[in-house]
Symmetry: C2
Subunit: 238 residues, 2 copies
């Protein structure tokens, strides 16, 4: 393997080592639209291109932790629960040589506060409509596309949609979120019936103020109750 080219002490087994990167596909939801978090790169290769937040991992860094760090450095966002999406390994996907990348996936309550790169690797971080992505660096467009597919599949069987909304939300917001992500219309009455049948929303005793029509009730997602039910084998399904 390549390390034999370096002048190392000859030991019984050569020391191995990986260079690899992580890329983050982060979803938000705003103005009835699904958004993906992008950065503008400030370093070669692909300087000035738009890209997913991603970078090389350190040698002594766990792959999951690398994703956390890279997301923070490039966007200022921290403490997000990310799931591994897929490893992308085409041999020419990186112009500087063989680098495989592990893509991570998360959905968050969209915010613009604190959305600033912490290092100079990125010029800026911004939200982009998920179905109107520009040309992206590396194979990031393929990665983002794959993320959207996984989001669509996941949202049907896991209650991740609530992570995209603010703490308190209306049933219509949930309804519109599902319609936007699944890209199909869903009967309002049937949707409400189903979502309420799980008995996993806490009805707040207040209505959304300042709307020019009948004020909707507000709800909260009851995560604790969901976790308990899930342990007993309950499966959320829309």
């Amino acid at each position: 393997m390549y390390l034999l080219h370096c002048n190392m002490k000859s030991t019984s087994l050569p020391k191995l080592h990986s260079d690899f990167s992580v890329d983050c596909v982060i979803f938000g939801f705003d103005e009835g639209e699904l958004k993906i978090l992008l950065i503008e790169r400030n370093e070669p290769p692909f300087e000035k291109w738009q890209a997913l937040p991603g970078n090389l991992a350190y040698d002594n860094e766990d792959i999951d932790e690398a994703a956390q760090r890279v997301l923070y450095e490039l966007t200022g966002i921290s403490g997000v629960f990310m799931k591994q999406l897929y490893a992308f390994g085409k041999i020419d996907r990186h112009p500087q040589g063989r680098v495989i990348t592990v893509a991570y996936f998360a959905i968050i309550k969209r915010t613009d506060e604190g959305l600033h790169p912490v290092t100079s690797y990125a010029k800026k971080a911004f939200w982009c409509p998920a179905n109107d992505l520009p040309k992206l660096a590396f194979d990031h467009k393929e990665i983002a596309q794959h993320g959207i597919q996984v989001l669509r599949n996941t949202i049907k069987y896991e209650p991740i949609g609530f992570e995209l909304l603010s703490e308190e939300f209306t049933l219509s917001q949930v309804h519109h979120l599902y319609e936007a992500i699944l890209e199909k219309s869903i009967d309002k009455r049937n949707f409400r019936k189903k979502i309420m049948s799980f008995d996993l929303l806490t009805a707040l005793k207040k209505k959304k103020p300042g709307v020019a029509h009948k004020a909707p009730w507000l709800y909260k997602w009851n995560k604790d109750k969901y976790e308990k039910l899930k342990e007993k084998g309950f499966v959320f399904e829309i």
Copy 2:
């Protein structure tokens, strides 16, 4: 990054490079039991240990192709369609240094013919009951366990079970396969009704010979028809 330690020409951007491995979780089904394909290692580290078929990839090798090659070299099996399972990246998972591994997943018609290592990296290849795995090299037990989970989820929504059976099979074989993988009993009449309702099995006009009871009819999986239906949005679900 580490390559700076080597005496390379100084260029504007350092050349990057990954060392990583692939590991294959291959399922077979035999004697009513789910099996996983293992090897006995013939090289350090973990010499003489049992392990999943896996090895380092070459620099100029696509990640998916590496999985094909490694499986062939260690077990003699080729031409299997493998899907990526997960990337495992704990920093200490490989005793020689930082190596991330990409696990691949496939299910095949179990055979002992041609089940022989082609290189000397493995002493032998053999099938092992999936719910009675021995201690395995590296983090391979965790990888195998993850593979079993994915198999259970996948078999409910995709007709991959037929890939585990021989070309011609009986309905009882399918029924027992599902019971074995999902580890629960399934009503015989309801199961047969459902599986026949898809209209995706071709009934052969012959019965299985040489059985000491009523001879069962044989069927074939109609893959072409399934692929066409799938394009139109059909979802197989047990």
